[in-house]
């Protein structure tokens, strides 16, 4: 009796060690790939990191349910994807209540001065944005500003933008996924657009406006 319970205890402890070992290895192997994916979907660095950590905690808790016939990577990405959806749905619900509308127009319907579009000294050639004789997206200084502006979007708008521009999915699919109404979705995209436009204007185009092109 006694020896059996020692044996069981020993096996459990052995399992725990294997589990810790496996998890440690997986964290080393897959964190980077998972983080890239999470950052693509939610944009916010802190949030993406938390989601990856949650993924491994869930993997830890569900370790016994993992079956070797699927690859570890696929399994982990599946967990992460669920975590991302959960997170975005919560963000959307909360955002609807807390985020104030952007006001870009005066009461009589004119652009407010700070929102009024100023000329951007770039043009479009064959679907590419060109600045002088350079592709704008090839300019590292611009990319830095662009990324910062994207990072400053509210969580809700960032989620919509990422879903729209990365995954090439239809508005309808995205709405189902995020559990929001189409009107809210369009409002968020609109909001993202105005805010990005303003941010790029302030931090890029305004400073390049007076340079000879």
């Amino acid at each position: 009796m006694n020896c059996c319970s020692v044996l069981v205890w020993d096996m459990e402890r052995g399992d725990d060690a294997t589990k810790r070992n496996d998890l440690n290895l997986w964290v080393q192997q897959y964190t980077s790939a998972l983080l890239v994916h999470a950052r693509q979907r939610v944009r916010k660095k802190d949030m993406a990191e938390d989601l990856v950590q949650d993924t491994f905690v869930a993997a830890w808790q569900g370790y016994e349910s993992f079956r070797a016939e699927s690859s570890v990577k696929t399994w982990l990405f599946g967990i992460l994807e669920n975590k991302i959806r959960e997170y975005l749905r919560v963000v959307m619900r909360r955002g609807e209540q807390t985020e104030a509308d952007l006001v870009c127009f005066s009461e009589d319907g004119n652009w407010l001065p700070e929102w009024r579009p100023q000329h951007w000294s770039v043009h479009v050639e064959n679907g590419i944005v060109v600045d002088g004789d350079q592709h704008l997206l090839d300019n590292p200084a611009f990319l830095l500003v662009f990324d910062q502006c994207l990072d400053e979007l509210p969580h809700t708008a960032a989620g919509c933008v990422c879903a729209t521009y990365q995954q090439q999915r239809t508005g309808k699919e995205i709405c189902q996924d995020l559990q929001i109404q189409p009107t809210q979705y369009w409002q968020l995209l609109h909001r993202a657009r105005q805010q990005l436009r303003r941010c790029l204007d302030l931090h890029w185009f305004a400073t390049h406006r007076h340079e000879p092109s």
Binding site: E12, R13, D15, D16, R20, L23, N24, V27, Q28, T31, S32, L35, V36, R39, Q40, K45, E49, V52, Q53, F56, V57, W60, Q61, E64, C104, F105, D108, G109, N110, W111, R116, P117, Q118, H119, W120, V122, V124, G127, I128, V129, L136, L137, L143, F146, L150, V161, C162, Y165, Q166, Q167, G171, P182, W186, H190, R193, L196, R197, L200
Partner: protein, 96 residues
């Protein structure tokens, strides 16, 4: 005539709303004409339309999945690896 025209002319805000609407469903003929008219006379809203197109291209090209995979600094994920490992180590063994 003037009163008729001005009731037909859109404010920038209204024009903006219509041009937003146009991205997800077709406008009615009246709406279409109203928007065209407004854009014909309003340089700010014309520039807005241009910027919308530019932003759309920039986002599509910059956020596409392949564009993003390259630019993650390694140090970022190294710190995170350590953080997660420490967190997992702190979890108690689970009861089966």
């Amino acid at each position: 005539m003037n009163a008729f025209l001005s009731s037909f002319m859109l404010s920038c805000q209204r024009a903006n709303a219509l041009s937003e609407l146009r991205t997800h469903r077709p406008l009615s003929l009246t709406q279409h004409v109203q928007l065209r008219l407004h854009l014909a006379v309003c340089s700010a809203c014309r520039e807005f339309e241009r910027q919308r197109h530019i932003l759309d291209l920039l986002q599509r090209q910059h956020l596409s999945a392949d564009a993003l995979t390259q630019d993650l600094p390694n140090a970022d994920s190294r710190d995170l690896v350590t953080r997660i490992q420490q967190h997992l180590d702190s979890l108690p063994p689970q009861k089966p």
